[in-house]
Symmetry: C2
Subunit: 396 residues, 2 copies
């Protein structure tokens, strides 16, 4: 066993990592809009990216360098996704990275990550002009987390110290952005994780894949998959300590915290809902049903209206394509059972109890399909007027 | 070849069909809420139903009678879906149908169709008490179309006379409802088609399947599939005339008109958009991409905002899982090309032209994937404040 302690510092918490946010004039009013994460020690990087076929230029640039490679620096910009920009998008990154390496000769294979407008060239000159403000050793994780925000209502960071039974320890830190856009682009999710654990480089990608399955792949704000979605893990081995079970658990905790923060901070959203599906024929079927619930417009608007509309829950499961049977299905809001294998328990009393569950900021809706042992929990949010406003009225 | 003339009368236009709407007290203020369609001559019925696993009781009742069978009457009610009601839901229908046959001995295998709240018992006594108002011979198609409306902003009916080159003719008529609900239930689509063409009974289901593919299966209001979706075809052979090509064409025209009316009348929607996808690797891929566009929240809110946000269109195609390549893709709003195989044509002038296309009530967005010959057109609508209001605020 091991102990896990929340600590301050975000991506700068692990030994040897620095980060900061600077203002390059991409956002208005001198707001922070460019961030970097740097390791003072040699580090390895591995990442998982969007499945969108039109993966943005920074993703294709990263993939050109390999799966896991030496890298001690990532430059992140808001306001421009550098997506649908073709070969020029890559050239713009190469141009910037050359200037960055010229200015900071200690950088090894610097990479980029972007979020913002799709289909416009990267404002590389503006970014280049701001590189002079970068001080590599700055430990300003909170400013970095702030710089990468777009329509995020709050910045998202987390860090843990992991103590093994023999007293040795390592740290893991991370920051993320989600929410969406204020400009016409897709809602992009970016997450940067740092650790001083001595992670074997051939394990980095697989561990990321394991952890993303129940965290970032389990959330949905609007069901769309951006051209820029990225989860990036930097490991500099500075602690010299590693224990896989402990590291994976800590990685999952970090990613779970940030993923639920991203869902909670869905554009205009006020509520975080955990859709627990159990009793499915398989885990795949549980995933299918749980994700159908997170993306159903009728379910999302019912959550916004704090309406325990179990008929919409049932119908969404029925149309999700999974094996189900109305005489085996059970539906609960929190601990309030409203439908029990063919019996409609929903009366005025139960309705009021279920509605009071939904008035909370965070709650669960549980569907037991009663078929098999497959289970999965997906996280979603409500959809209200603010969502429409953010996504339709950005011009005004 | 043949000629097709629009005529009045809706479902009552074909010879020997009658219909009416009555008020059973299910809706408030004495509004019409129960409808029937009847054939004075012996008729056959065939239907296509929802793929939702929790198909409503009236659907399971119908399926218990066969695929194509003798039937000269359908009773339709609004305000209650009779879904998630188990064996009792079927018993309620049997009870009502017995009373109906007792009152009108000429009825053969009467069936039901319902739309409204999921998970509440059918108010069968109220409906039974109103059966006395039914006059079998009434030709009030418009009142029937009105009775089946829920949140529909307008009633939907259509009829054509089909004239063959030799002067013989037959008629086809139909009515539909869509839009959604004012009560907490799924947005249900119901469509009833009548014809006096001499359709061979063994062709009825296949012809319905062909016609539904490019019509009702090509529309999306909210991406949810209701427990009650139904397309029902009655044929009484009264004209003695049939020519398959002409009949199929007329059937498709009727269903296309009603399906686009349903999409146009999506809850709170103001615009009908045809998403034309061409150049896909296969028709399946074209369907996948076109449907992804109709259900993308970011695309739907951009349409509401009249924002020619081609980046969202591209990204939705990229995440739809179809084969695509940014150097082959072309995107147009109406006739305005905004992205051409890697070249971003979008400047202030093009943006204004594309925005003016989007200010129309009805327009197309065309995506040529440039990969193969697969094509498909799906129909969708915008998503604005009204949608949220209808679906979240029904209590207030």
């Amino acid at each position: 066993m091991f102990d896990l302690f929340p600590i301050h510092g975000g991506v700068c918490a692990p030994e040897g990592f620095s980060a900061d946010g600077i203002a390059a004039g991409l956002k208005k009013e001198g707001k922070l809009d460019v961030a970097f994460v740097h390791s003072l020690f040699p580090a390895k990087v591995s990442a998982l990216f969007t499945t969108n076929r039109f993966a943005a230029a920074p993703i294709r640039y990263f993939q050109g360098l390999g799966e896991v490679f030496d890298c001690n620096f990532v430059l992140i910009n808001a306001k421009n996704a550098n997506a649908m920009t073709g070969a020029e998008g890559i050239e713009d990154i190469e141009w910037l990275m050359e200037r960055l390496k010229h200015r900071f000769p200690s950088l090894v294979n610097p990479v980029m990550s972007s979020t913002g407008v799709i289909g416009a060239r990267l404002p590389k000159e503006k970014i280049e002009a701001s590189l002079g403000e970068i001080v590599l050793g700055k430990k300003e994780g909170a400013r970095a987390a702030q710089a990468i925000m777009t329509t995020d209502a709050f910045s998202k960071e987390v860090a843990f110290k992991v103590e093994l039974p023999d007293g040795r320890s390592f740290c893991i830190g991370a920051m993320a952005k989600g929410a969406g856009m204020i400009d016409p682009a897709m809602a992009t999710m970016l997450c940067f994780i740092t650790t001083d654990a001595d992670v074997p480089e051939n394990r980095m990608k697989e561990l990321l894949q394991k952890a993303v399955h129940t965290t970032f792949n389990a959330i949905s704000v609007d069901g769309d998959t951006s051209t820029n979605d990225t989860v990036m893990l930097f490991s500099n081995k500075a602690s010299g300590v590693y224990e896989e079970e402990a590291f994976l658990m800590a990685l999952e905790r970090v990613m779970h915290k940030l993923a639920t923060d991203v869902a909670r901070d869905g554009e205009g959203a006020k509520k975080l809902v955990a859709f627990e599906v159990s009793g499915a024929a398989s885990e795949e079927e549980a995933i299918k049903a749980a994700k159908a619930l997170t993306t159903s417009l009728l379910v999302k608007t019912a959550i916004f209206g704090e309406d325990p509309n179990w008929g919409r829950i049932a119908s969404t499961i029925g149309s999700s394509g999974v094996e189900c049977d109305e005489n085996r299905l059970r539906i609960s809001f929190g601990e309030v059972l409203v439908y029990d294998r063919g019996a409609i328990l929903f009366d005025k009393t139960i309705e009021e109890k279920a509605a009071s569950v939904m008035r909370q900021e965070s709650f669960k809706i549980h569907c037991d399909l009663g078929i098999g042992r497959g289970k999965f929990t997906a996280y979603g949010c409500d959809l209200g007027y603010e969502y429409v406003k953010i996504n339709a009225d950005y011009r005004t």
